[in-house]
């Protein structure tokens, strides 16, 4: 049975897609914008630019000085941020109802008139900040670069998902002021943007206010190419090994998956749950509980737009375990799942956990707004938030078996192994 979150939708004459979802339980409104640009749009030599650009959106625009966006919102009880991902860049704030117009005015100023205020000094400063973000979140973390290695191993060199959103230090260094101008002109426009209001606002009032503040922005986005065709699974295993100062050996095993929102992706997600995504999943029972060759196992599936999604399993080897044995266990369990499919209990557990996770995400006004923007920008239908669980429930054991065979075949795996550097003494012993 579908959920019944209210969803009202309208497109302004300038192409801005607007979604309003009233919820008066708290005197707050979330303003959430998805711009149709992410790291998948970056060109060779320009990796990390979409994210660096996102930082510049907080450094002032025509009528707003640098830093004022955060300050003005926080001082009236707002919480604001932005993130960049493969397929999109999002900007969001949750404000007391009385500050909704201020939030829309601030968004209109930077989404319409950023370039009036961008300076070399701001670019240089935020380039430094982003480089520190890269060091903090990736370079200075154990296993911090493993996912970047996985993207490179799973996707072809010329594919939009081959490189991580954070980019490379060299490319960040190369970013110039004229790139900022060109990027803004190409991607930042109402006809490449979705704006969602979720919270203490009525539909007509919401559409009026968005029209008043963002209606004057001009439609200028250049048309984008359609998504790439579906990429098939890897045809032979790929292997990357790194020996580093990590606490234990860890395997990241990645697979190409069907695109976001496809029935096949739902089935593949259930397969990954059965394999390693649940406390009671097969690899958890076998390697963590019984054989104790792993201290932890996880699995994730990330739905993506551009012709392929990403699924991966992470296995932490227990001390004294040969990671090759752990990998063999994974291969065996993949083969078994492909052979006999999931049990009813596994399907029930996967569904029940998906249900809780989905309802928990929607419980927060911020996340609900983000999901409404997501489904509007990527799939042109915000109402999908209400029917998502029905699509998850529609997955049958045979679908899971078929998805495992097609997408999770052992020969289609890419393994990124981070192996703990042994000290000399240990190596000799």
């Amino acid at each position: 049975m579908p959920l019944d979150y209210p969803v009202h939708r309208r497109t302004l004459p300038n192409g801005l897609r607007v979604v309003v979802s009233p919820d008066h339980t708290v005197p707050n409104v979330t303003v959430n914008l998805w711009v149709g640009v992410g790291s998948r749009h970056e060109q060779p030599g320009g990796t990390g630019f979409a994210h660096l650009f996102e930082h510049l959106m907080f450094q002032g625009s025509r009528s707003v000085r640098s830093g004022e966006h955060f300050e003005a919102l926080m001082a009236v009880g707002g919480r604001a941020n932005a993130t960049t991902w493969f397929d999109r860049t999002n900007y969001f704030e949750t404000v007391p109802t009385g500050a909704l117009e201020l939030a829309l005015w601030l968004e209109a100023d930077r989404h319409g008139h950023l370039l009036d205020a961008v300076t070399q000094a701001n670019l240089d400063n935020q380039r430094d900040v982003v480089k520190e973000e890269k060091r903090q979140r990736y370079d200075n973390q154990p296993y911090g670069t493993a996912l970047a290695d996985l993207y490179a191993a799973v996707f072809p060199a010329d594919h939009p998902y081959h490189h991580p959103t954070i980019g490379s230090m060299e490319d960040l260094d190369a970013a110039a002021l004229e790139d900022v101008h060109a990027f803004f002109r190409r991607y930042y426009a109402p006809d490449n943007t979705v704006l969602t209001l979720c919270g203490d606002v009525e539909p007509e009032q919401g559409f009026d206010l968005v029209g008043r503040y963002l209606g004057p922005l001009s439609a200028t986005a250049r048309s984008q190419r359609p998504p790439l065709p579906q990429l098939g699974p890897l045809t032979e295993p790929v292997r990357v090994e790194r020996t580093e100062a990590v606490p234990n050996d860890r395997l990241h095993v990645g697979f190409r998956l069907p695109v976001d929102e496809s029935a096949e992706l739902f089935a593949a997600t259930v397969a990954l749950d059965c394999l390693a995504g649940l406390t009671s999943s097969r690899l958890a029972r076998r390697t963590v509980r019984r054989e104790q060759t792993a201290t932890a196992v996880h699995a994730s599936a990330w739905g993506l737009l551009d012709g392929v999604s990403l699924g991966f399993v992470v296995l932490d080897a227990a001390p004294g375990t040969d990671p090759a044995d752990l990998e063999s266990a994974l291969v065996q369990e993949l083969e078994r799942l492909a052979e006999s499919g999931p049990t009813d209990a596994e399907l029930e557990a996967s569904l029940a956990q998906s249900e809780r996770a989905w309802l928990s995400a929607l419980a927060s006004q911020e996340e609900r707004a983000d999901l409404l923007s997501r489904y509007t920008l990527l799939h042109d239908d915000p109402g999908l938030v209400n029917t998502h669980l029905d699509r998850v429930r529609a997955v049958r054991p045979d679908d899971v078996r078929a998805a495992t065979r097609r997408w999770l075949a052992p020969d289609s795996r890419a393994v990124v192994a981070y192996l703990a550097a042994r000290s000399d003494a240990e190596a000799v012993a």
């Binding site: 209109a108 903090q136 009671s280």
Partner: protein, 448 residues
């Protein structure tokens, strides 16, 4: 461009009301009915002083907590895990200085089974020997992962520097490699019998309770929770600060491209007689946003960091004021000098504009911060463990709104005396030569 709109004053709001009941076994039940919150958040807190763990067996409480759902007298470990997952449950359990916290999220229609399974985990865990050994081994692996992570390694060194040697607070809550290796199944069984039971316990349930017999389900589940050997715990006392805490410790982490930097001093808990209200405001003004005093310089002007945050961290008893973040390795000394300068200068007072911005941020973000069942259950459970009344949050927010500059300045000066415990985690070979002579107090270097 339209003119900048003005901001209308916020609508009145108060912390969600609570209905209080007493379950048959003596457990206090606090219910928050939150329409539209379809995942219910249940919390169980049992007061138990972490400092009472026997010396050498640190981690006993945390390991007992982690083993509660690893098998019961009625269900084998794998059976129990599967059962909880099929009912959509997510269960976590951990400890603070003041007691045990069990944390369960579950969709509305599974409340009955969830309450029964939580009662089973609390009252009849079987602690199978293989599971005990496995959980202890996984803690040992976790310790190694924490050692490898600069922020975790810094937190461990800070506890050791800030608090007196021998005080429980100076050692990791979940134990050290030595203490974890020393634990046995018998220790855990005995600890559970003495320390986990309904005396003084509180159950919180928050979410959309429409059409649910929440009281009935919880009575059926937790009303018969019995623990004949359960002893009431004494109230925790604040940790004793180390006499030599005003010093700098550099943890050598070779090859680090950033230095993790932590500056701290002892602070109050939320029951402080002079009032909790000024503390979140001061933390926001100093280190709560890119425009706060610290990041205005270290991030927005210098580009040394992705961001540095300040927070007052209340324990059930006592607490600390901690400022932490990471900076590019080459600028470690410079960043530390600037940071300490900003923290010390704030003792000269905040400005009226800062007071206004901080008060409005803390007070007006409250409706959003307490908008989900999860957040409300967390806060009400924390109040229960801290021995604070259920109307504390409402009173606190009113006090924040009425805060004066004098109160804010006085509170900051009470905690911040200029004596700092400083922990740096970074590449000693490259940063040490540039640190000498530029840090306050004695400097020592320790291994990772």
């Amino acid at each position: 461009m339209t003119a900048r709109p003005s901001v209308a004053p916020p609508r009145p709001w108060s912390y969600p009301p609570v209905r209080e009941h007493l379950l048959p076994g003596g457990v206090r039940l606090l219910l928050h009915d939150l329409p539209g919150q379809y995942v219910l958040s249940m919390r169980v807190v049992v007061p138990s002083r972490l400092a009472d763990e026997p010396a050498g067996l640190e981690g006993l409480s945390a390991m007992t907590a982690r083993l509660l759902d690893e098998g019961t007298t009625q269900h084998e470990p794998e059976e129990l895990a599967e059962l909880m997952e099929r009912h959509g449950m997510a269960l976590g359990a951990g400890v603070s200085d003041g007691g045990l916290l069990v944390d369960v999220d579950v969709p509305q229609h599974h409340l009955g089974p969830a309450a029964r399974l939580v009662a089973e985990a609390l009252g009849q865990p079987s602690f199978p020997e293989p599971e005990v050994r496995r959980i202890l081994r996984s803690r040992l692996a976790e310790i190694e992962q924490e050692r490898a992570s600069a922020p975790h390694r810094a937190a461990r060194e800070l506890a050791r520097t800030l608090w007196a040697d021998g005080d429980r607070a100076s050692r990791p809550s979940a134990g050290t490699p030595e203490s974890v290796r020393a634990l046995t199944r018998e220790d855990i069984v005995a600890h559970h019998a003495r320390r986990v039971g309904p005396r003084g316990a509180t159950v919180v349930l928050a979410g959309d309770l429409t059409g649910l017999d929440a009281l009935g389900e919880l009575e059926a589940g937790l009303g018969s929770w019995a623990a004949p050997h359960h002893e009431a715990s004494a109230a925790p006392v604040p940790p004793v600060p180390a006499a030599d805490r005003a010093r700098v410790v550099l943890v050598d982490r070779p090859g680090s491209v950033q230095t993790e930097l932590v500056v701290a001093c002892p602070g109050p808990d939320r029951s402080t007689p002079t009032g909790w209200a000024p503390h979140p405001v001061a933390a926001f003004v100093l280190g709560g946003s890119p425009g706060a005093r610290i990041d205005a310089v270290l991030r927005e002007e210098k580009g040394y960091t992705y961001g540095i945050r300040s927070s007052f961290r209340p324990r059930v008893a006592g607490g600390s004021f901690v400022t932490a973040g990471s900076v590019r390795a080459e600028v470690t000394a410079d960043a530390l000098e600037i940071l300490l300068g900003i923290l010390d200068a704030a003792r000269d007072g905040f400005t009226p504009a800062e007071l206004r911005a901080g008060v409005d941020y803390v007070a007006r973000t409250a409706p959003g911060r307490y908008a989900t069942a999860d957040a409300v259950a967390d806060e009400t459970a924390a109040l229960a463990l801290e021995g604070l009344p259920t109307d504390f949050t409402t009173g606190h927010l009113a006090a924040v709104a009425a805060l004066t500059l004098e109160d804010l300045d006085a509170a900051y000066r009470r905690t911040v005396t200029g004596e700092w415990s400083v922990v740096l985690v970074g590449d000693a070979e490259s940063i040490l030569p540039r640190l000498e002579g530029r840090v306050p107090g004695p400097l020592s270097v320790v291994e990772l």
